[in-house]
């Protein structure tokens, strides 16, 4: 067991990659074996994530050097700097890992039925496993170059998955937009990494953070990194690709894409807090992120209310919700240099944002899965064509309502718990931000009333007389997310104590992150 925990960070990525490569071979033999392999490897990875989370809460940051003579040996004797590929998992990374594992498992179980009518399923699952492995890599990696590599793995497999239903013209368009955007963003990330490397000859995040001088070139690199990650996570004004890509992808893929966007949010936070951290004065950066967050909230929700395509509407709602996180992070960054303000409300703002990340993945995932369930039965995403579906698809309607209430911040669901943390702390920073936030939340409710009314409510339409409830695996996938939404809503204190607070502390404790790498000589 100890050996398993020691190697768990690489095993999570490695097992998924191995399973991805095995899937085409197994898929030729039997479909059933392939599905068992996919679900089994994802479940195994999820179990390892939880074991690793437990280990980190007791033993602190987990460091793993690939190919070293001892797994924890990041800086061997005779070397001044960390060598080899290093994985570094702290409280923040493992929180993202928990989100990823839950979301990936739910999405894959959902797609067992949802994709069962499609061709090329073996390739679909190969790409899903690659994407999940890439996401875990992004969260666990300890050096910038592997961040780029895993970012590209996630983007390429994500784009291929978006375009996987080649018979529709709009999927090709959405996939193409996604891959253009992500490849430009990733190349700019690589450019920024090159700028940092040119000055310090380092790629490791911890070692770079220690050496950081915050020169002019460092600032340029910071700007490029922030812009690239902001584009990948869909912040206004570089959000337009998000609604195009999310709305056309198969919903199980969209759920994975949400988690991939979350990992870009993680990369943004890692860049700001850990890589630049206290060396730099990040007040201006914080304000840029706040403005972007406010714009995301406002434009996201006003565009959402206009849409008649159900998945596109939820995609705009995603932009709106990520605005809340950006505001929380931005406030945390703006007061990072001021210990008093940080203790008074900065930490709360950051933990609210982190809590909202996990909640966002859960309720947007549930909303998209419910939308996909509707598409699975009636074959259209157009809200104008829908009506009275609540009479026959009771479970889907209830799950959609649950997700909608959580997303609009209605108590006692989890969205409210994280939003109140953000409101409370941001109010002390600037009251106007909170007022905009509450206003946006109210419009979000109006958005979902529109969807619920036009899709589920009303008299049963004759043309949907024969529509049945979706298969059991799809309900199970939605139920997992729904149960987690209710649990997170009812016990927010427990969740914050267990995972959110350690994640916030890990994010703010730059010295511990550096020490785990640079001082790791046994």
């Amino acid at each position: 067991m100890d050996t398993l925990i020691t190697h768990s960070s690489i095993l999570i990525i490695g097992i998924l990659l191995l399973a991805a490569f095995l899937t085409p071979l197994v898929g030729r033999v039997s479909e059933r074996a392939r599905n068992i392999l996919v679900i089994g490897s994802l479940a195994f990875a999820a179990a390892l994530v939880f074991a690793l989370a437990r280990d980190i809460s007791f033993n602190g940051i987990h460091v793993y050097a690939l190919g070293a003579s001892s797994p924890g040996l990041a800086t061997p004797e005779g070397f001044m700097v960390p060598v080899r590929i290093v994985l570094e998992v702290d409280g923040m990374s493992i929180l993202m890992g928990i989100i990823w594992s839950i979301v990936a498992l739910a999405a894959t179980v959902f797609s067992l039925s949802h994709m069962s009518k499609e061709t090329g399923q073996t390739r679909f699952y190969t790409l899903v496993l690659l994407m999940v492995a890439g996401g875990f890599g992004m969260m666990f990696t300890g050096d910038l170059f592997n961040l780029f590599v895993f970012l590209e793995i996630t983007s390429i497999s994500g784009a291929a998955l978006i375009a996987s239903r080649t018979r529709f013209a709009d999927t090709q368009e959405g996939g193409f937009k996604y891959i253009v955007i992500s490849s430009v963003a990733s190349l700019m990330v690589l450019f920024a990494i090159g700028v940092l490397y040119s000055q310090y000859n380092l790629l490791n995040v911890g070692a770079l953070a220690q050496a950081m001088q915050y020169t002019m070139l460092d600032r340029m690199a910071l700007v490029i990194l922030i812009a690239a990650f902001a584009m990948k996570l869909g912040a206004v004004p570089v959000h337009m690709w998000l609604s195009d890509a999310y709305s056309v992808a198969p919903v199980s893929v969209t759920v994975l894409l949400i988690a991939a966007s979350q990992s870009c949010m993680y990369a943004l936070m890692r860049t700001c807090f850990t890589l630049y951290g206290v060396t730099a004065d990040l007040t201006a950066v914080g304000w840029i992120i706040i403005v972007s967050g406010i714009l995301s909230m406002f434009i996201g929700v006003t565009m959402a209310i206009r849409q008649t395509d159900i998945t596109r509407l939820i995609a705009y709602n995603c932009i709106c919700e990520s605005g809340f996180m950006l505001v929380g992070i931005g406030v945390g960054l703006a007061v990072l240099a001021d210990p008093g303000a940080l203790a008074a409300y900065g930490t709360t703002a950051i933990s609210g944002a982190i809590f909202h990340m996990i909640n966002h993945a859960l309720f947007e995932g549930l909303l998209f899965l419910a939308a996909g369930a509707i598409f699975y039965r009636i074959g259209t995403r157009d809200l104008n064509q829908m009506g009275g579906l609540g009479h026959t698809m009771k479970f889907t309607a209830v799950f959609f309502l649950l997700g909608a209430l959580a997303s609009s911040g209605i108590p006692p669901f989890n969205g409210f718990a994280s939003k109140i943390l953000i409101y409370e702390s941001v109010y002390q920073f600037s009251p106007i931000l909170t007022i905009i936030g509450i206003f946006v939340s109210i419009i979000t409710l109006a958005v979902f009333i529109k969807v619920f009314f036009s899709a589920f409510a009303g008299a049963p339409l004759p043309r949907y007389k024969d529509v049945k409830e979706v298969p059991r695996t799809m309900i199970a996938a939605m139920a997992v997310l729904a149960v987690m939404i209710i649990l997170f809503g009812l016990f927010p204190g427990l969740i914050t104590d267990w995972i959110i607070r350690p994640a916030t502390d890990a994010l703010l404790d730059q010295a511990a992150y550096i020490n785990a790498i640079v001082g790791a000589i046994p």
């Binding site: 013209a169 090709q172 565009m303």
Partner: protein, 117 residues
């Protein structure tokens, strides 16, 4: 960076990046757009390779090398990885463009915007 005699490689990389951004933004043909992204990748790769250059250095291979400095091996490894990734990206983009052309019969990015607003 006093080992680098001239800033030519960096200037070339900057020029490549600038030209490729011009292409990506202003050329509406999807194939030209892909060429722009390929050029952007080359620009970034050139930048990375020239970071590791040492004046008079030899290739970082421990086989029959003359005495003297070696150029840095790490940026070359990074560049190779980046090239490999870009091959995959370009192949994926081209297949998608072929599919777009099949569906819409056009390669113009203004034609392929079913989704807007």
């Amino acid at each position: 960076m006093e080992h680098i005699p001239l800033n030519f490689p960096f200037l070339a990389a900057a020029l490549l990046v600038a030209i490729s951004f011009y292409i990506i933004i202003f050329k509406k043909n999807l194939i030209k757009l892909i060429m722009g992204i390929a050029m952007l990748a080359s620009g970034v790769n050139l930048f990375l390779v020239s970071l590791g250059y040492r004046a008079g250095g030899t290739a970082p291979i421990y086989t029959d090398v003359p005495e003297g400095p070696m150029v840095l091996a790490v940026p070359q490894a990074l560049t190779l990885t980046s090239i490999v990734i870009n091959v995959a990206v370009l192949a994926l983009m081209l297949t998608m463009v072929i599919q777009i052309h099949r569906h819409t019969g056009s390669l113009d990015s203004e034609e392929s915007r079913k989704m807007k607003g």
